[in-house]
Symmetry: C2
Subunit: 135 residues, 2 copies
């Protein structure tokens, strides 16, 4: 039977699309750098290695949970290294890998586009909001 409701069809399509998206490299990359803390942490580390608590202070608003979670993710992806020095108060340093620095370069290109064009976007936004005053 081709008797599929719109909902059923969409569900099937979504499953197929999800598989496609999971395999899409660009999608994975966007998910990573789109993460609120990833870019901030990497920017902080681009100045050189830092300790756990230093990062927590530098990025200010981050909770310990997200700090740990994000760093773990970055470590897993080979973007940062985690170096444990087993002194009496343990010391843990995080640093960018070459891969991480490479990604940092790309992100900075993105930032350059942002710096050049975001005022145009802001202007468009203002114009739009003026055109659509109430709602």
């Amino acid at each position: 039977m081709s008797t599929l409701t719109a909902a059923q069809r969409r569900e099937r399509d979504r499953a197929a699309y999800d598989a496609f998206l999971a395999a899409c490299p660009a999608r994975q990359l966007l998910d990573r750098i789109g993460d609120k803390w990833v870019s901030l942490l990497m920017a902080a580390l681009s100045d050189g290695p830092m300790r756990y608590a230093e990062l927590g202070r530098k990025v200010a608003g981050i909770s310990e949970k997200m700090l740990t979670q994000t760093l773990r993710g970055l470590e897993r992806d080979g973007l940062v290294t985690r170096t444990i020095t087993p002194s009496v108060p343990v010391r843990v340093d995080y640093a960018l890998t070459p891969l991480g620095e490479s990604l940092g370069t790309v992100v900075r290109e993105l930032k350059r586009w942002a710096d050049t064009h975001m005022d145009a976007i802001a202007a468009a936004r203002d114009a739009y909001d003026t055109r659509t005053p109430g709602a």
Copy 2:
């Protein structure tokens, strides 16, 4: 008094940081293109103008709500145009603006990095998961 609890200090810091982030162009851009549907929709539109329902079919898994919502956001930011043809069944076409195409170029650069380096990330991920088998 400097008698602030850790929570109070963090809250104050977060407020300040939120303000900083809201003003940061790069952050705004990342929030945009990090959105699951934005890049997909823009990729679809890079082939030329499309109608509402066409987009819905091309992007397959998207719900009508997200389709409308995302398109509105892109229109507001001056990245796409929305053209209404008041025929009897209404016809609405969406197309990239020059600004939108410019952004598309940047995103494609990002995609190039992804295509070149995501296998390294996947490898790092595998290695990490092997090193950390149980948990």
